[in-house]
Symmetry: C2
Subunit: 350 residues, 2 copies
DNA sequence: CTGTTAGCGCATTCAG
DNA sequence: CTGAATGCGCTAACAG
């Protein structure tokens, strides 16, 4: 008699319907039932319908843990972000989700709150799930984390920025170059005294600042006093505060680049409150091109990033490697960026 | 000889280090090794250190699937949101994450994109993981989804709003009442001709609109022409567009309530572009009190919701039920809300 | 196309 | 405090 022990429900079994129950009801062996669900074409139509009927009647729901244990495939992708309140990540996550969900993969999400130690702990925890793939933010994992990831044999995509030494695959763009380009653009438009305001100063903000500094050095106006950074979490309020701090001290500044749109918008709100005219009195530029950027008055000059596409591409890389067990054509993908000039920096210097 | 078959690595095994390997190396039985990891105080210190050493030397990472299968505990909480781009959800998710992560639980995230059919599919998929708990958004699950959830015996929390017929537990607030209160507040301040603009019109936007309508009926100014809704996804741009549509037609409107802050801000941006004065020419109110609300010029009157706390509370309810196997003191928790009056509706009618 | 056998890695009994 | 036996539910491998 084919049967599991559900007859005399043990305390261990949840009393749930198992594949064996389905098989029994359909009068087939468990493995046939299994195949009918995973590779329907391998099972005759007659048995298939019988099995499907049994599934529906019994309300069978597969047990994922058992499936994973037997097949060593979990259909889980782990995603590690430094933050969710930062509006860029939900967009990236959407791209990831929309690509993975249709392929039957689920997302295990974790949040480091921008703490590198947390990252190591989270990677360790997430690896216990044997995810079929992992997406991590940035390229600055510590040595232990890298080792863990490498040793896990799990496909990994580092996203948001590019590195010459990826753990595995890599999808992003150069924050340094993007920021550099933005500043050069302003310089070409005639700006000379340009400041930089950044918060949180995670690795990517850091590199955006470096891009700014590099551009300023190139035209020989490298003044560290024009740079103001802060370790606090980014916010509109903080943008306002830092703007006041810098602009009060250096009212001769012609433009200020902010490490992100939130800070920039916060500054613009402050200008609006104080009657400071943008761009006449001070020009302002952001980074990310969040959706409010072009709606502000004046509209905000910034750098546009294809966030959703970045998530999508990362997920595609992962799927490719999981399904084909081979690397995609290239291990690295540059999603690029675009400097978007708007009215917040439109000044006629002639 | 205690050993698993890793000596002659089969194609099924991943060749990974197992608990048996650790046990062998430490010279103990697998179960002792298991206990050393889960309930250290049950194992003598001598053996414990031996086992820990073995774990570190071998780089052992527990296999979650095996653990789940044996213990029928997954340490996974499934979370279903209708959207991530909507800024309210990342905040809620943060509250959930920050409560669950320290307790050793992981979050499996899914996104319905506001489609109810998707929800059923996702619930079905997520149930395969045997999550220890589930958090779903809203109270409008379809009959199948309810049945699935109920049948799963898994603790469930419905969040964002309140219902008299919860599936299990329920954490949220009354959108109807919150919106009603906001409108009453405006009415008490002297406003009579108040409009309503909503987008997407998911169940919660719907109920906010009902709250508005109810308040308007009470003072006998119920004019459906003053209501403009749209099924598109919410955005700043759409706020501007809908505002134009309504205000062009009814320039006698004194105030407009928007179903969320994004739309309201979009309208304010449009006003700023067109030189329409807020609140002198038209007053504007939002909903949610996102962080930009008080930074706008004028600052935005809105309804403040404790999003992070809502997520936290939902997670706590879940943990309570999982750990104690009993219901929390109450199955329902009202996180409440607060009407926040700011300058965008400050008009002197005297 | 279908079935048999065996085992994935761990934790729950129940014994000592 | 430690261990032996057993099974969680499913699927890979090999037959037939």
């Amino acid at each position: 008699m084919i049967s599991n022990k559900n007859n005399n429900i043990s305390s261990r079994s949840m009393g749930r319907v198992t594949l064996a129950d389905v098989a029994e009801k359909a009068g087939v062996s468990p493995i046939t039932a299994s195949r009918a669900l995973k590779n329907p074409q391998q099972v005759s139509e007659k048995l298939r319908t019988k099995i499907y009927d049994a599934v529906n009647e019994l309300g069978y729901i597969p047990n994922h843990a058992a499936r994973s244990l037997a097949s060593s495939e979990t259909k889980i992708i782990s995603v590690i972000f430094p933050s969710l309140s930062n509006a860029v990540f939900p967009d990236v996550l959407d791209g990831i989700h929309d690509t993975l969900a249709p392929a039957g993969y689920r997302i295990l999400l974790a949040n480091t709150h921008y703490e590198t130690d947390q990252e190591e702990i989270l990677v360790r925890t997430l690896l216990e799930q044997n995810p079929d793939g992992i997406i991590v933010t940035g390229i600055d994992q510590n040595e232990n984390t890298r080792k863990l990831l490498l040793g896990s044999k799990t496909p990994v995509v580092q996203i948001m920025e590019l590195t010459d030494f990826p753990i595995d695959m890599n999808v992003g763009f150069s924050h340094f170059q993007a920021s550099y380009d933005l500043v050069r653009h302003l310089q070409n438009a005639g700006y000379k005294k340009i400041g930089f305001i950044g918060a949180r100063m995670d690795p990517r903000s850091q590199r955006r600042m470096e891009g700014y500094k590099h551009a300023m050095q190139e035209i020989g106006i490298s003044n560290n006093d024009y740079v103001l950074t802060n370790q606090s979490h980014t916010s509109f309020k903080l943008g306002a505060k830092l703007f006041n701090q810098l602009f009060t001290q250096f009212s001769d500044l012609e433009a200020i680049c902010f490490s992100n749109d939130d800070l920039a918008a916060g500054a613009m709100f402050e200008c609006s409150r104080k009657g400071i005219r943008v761009p006449e009195d001070i020009s302002i530029a952001g980074f990310n091109d969040l959706d409010f950027a072009e709606e502000l008055t004046p509209s905000l000059t910034t750098v546009s990033i294809p966030l959703y596409e970045m998530g999508k591409k990362a997920a595609e890389y992962l799927l490719h490697k999981i399904v084909n067990r081979t690397n995609p054509d290239s291990l690295q993908y540059d999603v690029s960026y675009k400097v978007v000039e708007r009215k917040s920096t439109y000044t006629d210097f002639s």
